[in-house]
């Protein structure tokens, strides 16, 4: 297959994209043009399973929420070091495994600390 042919393979995808976007736009616009528009106050309110609203959604979260979020940020990023290790796992061999064990061991001490200090208790 020659190089010039490559873009041609993508033409169906392009057509599909145009059709998909066009269909969405046309149906939305058609709905807007055709439907009657008679707004009143109760109708404009946010819909919360039929019950009346009782507070703003932007309320203050308990401080615990931030602690969990922080723990997430810290432990989440460690994954970044595990991906390259997993990809090159065979090459790195036993030594890599030991290194990763050491790395995770240090993390576990931190995790154990957070656990013991009650950072993971929800109430």
């Amino acid at each position: 297959m020659s190089n010039e042919a490559v873009p041609l393979n993508y033409v169906p995808i392009l057509v599909f994209l145009v059709v998909a976007v066009g269909f969405g736009l046309v149906t939305l616009l058609a709905g807007r043009v055709l439907r009657p528009s008679r707004p009143y106050k109760a109708k404009l309110k946010a819909y919360e399973s039929g019950s009346p609203l009782f507070s703003d959604a932007r309320l203050q979260f308990p401080i615990r929420y931030y602690i969990i979020a922080m723990l997430f940020v810290i432990f989440d990023v460690e994954i970044v070091f595990m991906f390259p290790w997993a990809v090159e796992f065979r090459k790195l061999g036993l030594l890599g495994l030991l290194e990763m064990g050491f790395f995770i061991g240090i993390l576990l001490v931190g995790f154990w600390y957070a656990w013991k200090k009650g950072a993971l208790e929800w109430d």
């Binding site: 090159e88 890599g96 001490v109 154990w112």
Partner: protein, 498 residues
């Protein structure tokens, strides 16, 4: 290019001090939360015991001349690195001993304090071994994270919180500058190891990159014009943390500065000498003049610290092996005098709950020992003859004379006179003024150890400096081929443009 991971037993040996400390700080942390009823003082002594083991290990490295590089030259162990590690570990031991009384005042998280101090020390030990810009970035951040928390440790004290905030904002800003500077240097050279980025020509990217890195390290050591965080952070932080912050990170940052300027940038010496001379003159003059107006002893020591950093920069500006020796020696004298002075501030602060210089009135009546020790430390900081500070300043100036930096020396001498004034004001208050409250003051045993260590170091280095001089000369042997003034005439590309 792929990284091959090969480590032999001999390679791991190079990492032994760091591994010991890593394991030890995990032990300290675990014992803190697993045994909640353990008295927290025990943790302090446990930390000191671990650090003593690390220190013994480092001394063995130094005596046996063990060295080498690891991880594709990212991590180096040589005499210079070992010197700075001993410096850092020694400082940490003294700081922990000086903290014991202070930590009793904390309401929460007493045990974690020691853990964080050890963690910062570990980060700084890695800084001393950093041999490429990637490890510079990681280790610098690693050591600073502990300090961010330590500075803001007094949760109920607004001043401490505020100090932590300012330190944090300027610290992460400096980290951003450092990272971007490193990326520019990488873009110009494609390498990160110090010896590989010694590029023959100064392209704009390289110049801006190194200026950004210098700015970030300047933040770290608190040289003017990057000093703005120093007074507030020193003032608001818990006093033992201030003592730690004023000494150990400076030493670690100078390890990096020496490697960067002496190895990577040796070819551009004429250009960076001007930069360093400027930073040095500004730091000395600004620090000393503003120190005169201070009424709080921690702020006074903060500004005097800025001035001392200016003095040390003279050695870096000399850019010779002797300049390197002088930096190392000066750091030793600064360690004992400054830590000793802060130990007195901690002791007095624990007893009278005040850091105002006014409250040092008549200290001699209340505790002749504390007043005498403070006198020795302040005079050593000022550079009075029989004490360590004098030899340190002399060494630095001699290194500068060899390079013909006469303006710098003149400014330095004028600054010694200025600094003498504000140090002597404190001395006068201690010895001549009448105390408002004449009750005698007593200090605890661990604090006494710190003060005695400071006194011993200050007097020993001042009266018999030869062993220490031999040590620092040996530590910088690898720079003995540095170009002297005659040979330093390479194709000078101006610092801007290229």
């Amino acid at each position: 290019m792929t990284f091959t991971l090969t480590l032999s037993g001999a390679d791991l040996l190079l990492l032994l001090p760091e591994m010991l400390l890593t394991v030890w700080l995990c032990v300290v942390l675990t014992m803190d939360f697993a045994m909640p009823r353990l008295p927290k003082d025990r943790l302090a002594y446990l930390s000191v015991a671990g650090l003593a083991g690390v220190l013994a290990n480092l001394v063995w490295f130094d005596l046996a001349g063990i060295g080498g590089t690891l991880f594709a030259h990212m991590f180096v162990v040589d005499r210079l690195a070992v010197f700075f590690k001993i410096f850092i570990v020694g400082t940490t031991i003294l700081v922990i001993l000086a903290s014991v009384d202070y930590v009793r005042r904390f309401r929460f998280f007493k045990g974690e304090y020691y853990f964080l101090v050890l963690m910062s020390a570990l980060g700084m030990m890695f800084m001393a071994s950093a041999n490429d810009l990637l490890s510079v970035f990681i280790t610098l951040e690693f050591s600073t994270f502990g300090f961010y928390v330590l500075v803001a440790y007094l949760r109920d004290d607004v001043a401490s919180n505020e100090a932590g905030l300012k330190f944090f904002i300027l610290g992460v800003f400096a980290a951003g500058l450092l990272a971007y500077g490193i990326s520019l240097v990488y873009g110009e050279t494609g390498k990160l190891v110090f010896s590989d980025i010694a590029s023959p020509s100064a392209t704009p990217g390289l110049v801006i990159g190194f200026l950004l890195i210098f700015a970030a390290l300047g933040f770290k050591i608190g040289a003017v014009p990057f000093h703005s965080w120093i007074p507030d952070t020193y003032h608001g932080a818990p006093t033992p943390v201030t003592a730690f912050l004023s000494i150990a990170p400076k030493g670690a940052a100078f390890a990096i500065l020496i490697r960067m300027f002496f190895v990577s940038l040796a070819a551009f010496k004429p250009a960076w000498v001007l930069l360093l001379v400027g930073a040095s003159i500004l730091s000395m003059t600004y620090g000393n003049i503003v120190a005169i107006a201070q009424r709080n002893i921690k702020r006074l020591l903060a500004y005097s610290g800025i001035a001392q950093i200016g003095n040390i920069l003279i050695g870096l500006a000399a850019g010779t092996k002797m300049g390197g020796d002088a930096i190392l020696f000066y750091l030793l004298t600064y360690l004992f005098a400054n830590l000793g002075a802060f130990a007195i501030v901690i002791a007095v602060g624990n007893l009278i709950r005040s850091d105002e210089i006014e409250d040092y009135n008549g200290l001699n009546r209340r505790s002749p020992f504390l007043a005498f020790a403070m006198l020795v430390f302040l005079l050593s900081l000022a550079g009075v003859p029989p004490l360590a500070g004098f030899i340190g300043k002399l060494y630095i100036f001699l290194a500068a004379i060899d390079e013909g930096l006469y303006t710098l020396i003149a400014v330095g001498l004028i600054n010694i006179v200025i600094s003498m004034y504000y140090y002597l004001v404190v001395v006068k208050k201690m010895y001549i003024n009448e105390p408002t409250d004449p009750s005698p003051l007593t200090i605890s045993p661990p604090m006494k150890v710190v003060v005695y260590a400071g006194l011993a170091g200050t007097l020993f280095l001042g009266i018999y400096p030869q062993p220490a001089i031999n040590w620092v000369v040996a530590a910088t042997l690898m720079f003995s081929n540095l170009a002297g003034p005659a040979a330093a005439a390479p194709t000078l590309v101006l610092p801007i443009g290229g």
